[in-house]
């Protein structure tokens, strides 16, 4: 356990890549369980899957969901 490395890598204009964490808590208290070896945490606030990035940062205009 003590030898485990947790790293955070910032991607300009996009998410943070986090390696080695167990969970990520978002602003609203949602706890995201880390289930892959690298996760992307949203920094732009536009994701529908907070705390995770869903690539919404690259949509030019945010199309508000009309169908759910």
């Amino acid at each position: 356990m003590s030898a485990r490395r947790v790293t955070v890598e910032a991607c300009p204009g996009g998410p943070l890549l986090i390696r080695g964490a167990d969970e990520v808590v978002s602003d609203d208290g949602t706890v995201g369980k880390v289930e892959r070896s690298v996760v992307a945490v949203c920094r732009c606030g536009r994701s529908d899957r907070l705390p995770w990035c869903d690539a919404s940062h690259r949509a030019k205009r945010r199309s508000r969901k009309k169908d759910d």
């Binding site: 890549l17 690298v38 996760v39 992307a40 869903d54 690539a55 690259r58 169908d67 759910d68």
Partner: protein
């Protein structure tokens, strides 16, 4: 008996089913081979010569297509560091002007049958998902190699065989009583779709084109999350089984990670290590966008043609919104 065709009869190899099927079969010898075919056929000199001829024609056609479409990559500034320029260009090239028309169609209009068509068309690739790019691992080094291994580890389930992406796709097919045998989809798949799959093998199996292989990967990953979200909504609208939804659900999050890994950590580091690959990386990305958009167009045209032929068919031109 199908009519025999000469090599010189091929006018547009990227849309020619016979041409692409021949190339696919030759490539398949390097992946899983065929039952009843000697495994040694993989290195049969005559077959390799045939493959090289088809590949030359294909590469030439892809370069022409890229140069003639709006997917042409930007020119690089020769006096400044190419790596950040390549990263920036890859981001710009993949932002595009919206979500793919195929994904939008699946989300809003596709019938259950059309959704199945889509899965059948994509099965050729997704049942072998990420395998081409694994051939590039021994051809690159350092930080780019570590990043490609990290991405592939995720594609291959992160140590969990039941989460292999190809297996997730197979489960989606099974949930709809569709075959999980790639060969069963070959009779109906379009030349354009075969071309999009062969393009990955062309880049990955020729060490000379390793930069293009990684640029292709970056464009592929960076244009996946948003469409997968649309396809997922289409699957929900049609109340398709969980296994279908699971595949696309996984890819929204996974490919948001892979986009960063592929653009920055793989392509950025590759160009830092081998600056002479900068143009190849951008060519590979442009080729992915151009060839895949042709395959998408072909799918949409075929769907429209089929709807036109049976105008009383369900869901004609109706948006489900």
């Amino acid at each position: 008996m199908p009519e025999a065709r000469a090599y010189g009869d091929v006018a547009d190899c990227l849309g020619d089913r016979d041409f692409q099927l021949a190339l696919w079969i030759l490539y398949e010898l390097h992946y899983r081979g065929f039952e009843g075919v000697d495994d040694a056929a993989e290195w049969d000199p005559l077959l390799l010569v045939s493959r090289a001829g088809l590949e030359r024609t294909m590469e030439h056609a892809v370069r022409e297509l890229v140069a003639s479409t709006d997917h042409a990559p930007p020119a690089l500034e020769p006096d400044s560091d190419p790596a950040p320029q390549v990263v920036k260009a890859l981001v710009q090239m993949t932002i595009g002007d919206g979500v793919s028309p195929v994904a939008t169609f699946l989300r809003r209009r596709a019938t259950r049958e059309e959704f199945r068509d889509y899965l059948a068309e994509r099965a050729i690739y997704h049942l072998r998902e990420s395998d081409p790019q694994s051939f590039v691992l021994p051809r690159i080094d350092g930080a780019a190699k570590a990043a490609l291994a990290e991405l592939q580890y995720d594609e291959y389930g992160g140590g969990r065989p039941d989460r292999l992406h190809a297996t997730l796709f197979a489960r989606a097919l099974e949930s709809l009583d569709m075959s999980t045998d790639v060969a069963s989809y070959l009779p109906d798949v379009s030349g354009e779709t075969l071309a999009s799959v062969n393009l990955m093998s062309l880049f990955a199996l020729n060490r000379r084109l390793r930069g293009a292989a990684m640029g292709h990967l970056a464009a592929f990953e960076a244009t996946s999350s948003l469409p997968c979200e649309q396809i997922l909504r289409g699957a929900r609208r049609l109340k398709l089984p969980d296994a279908v939804q699971d595949y696309y659900d996984e890819h929204v999050e996974a490919d948001a990670v892979h986009e960063q890994l592929a653009i920055r950590n793989i392509c950025g580091n590759l160009v830092t290590a081998e600056p002479e690959l900068a143009d190849d990386v951008l060519f590979g990305a442009a080729a992915c966008l151009a060839v895949d958009s042709r395959a998408g167009q072909k799918l949409l045209t075929d769907w429209q043609d089929r709807r036109d032929r049976k105008p009383t068919g369900s869901g004609r031109a109706e948006a489900a919104g």
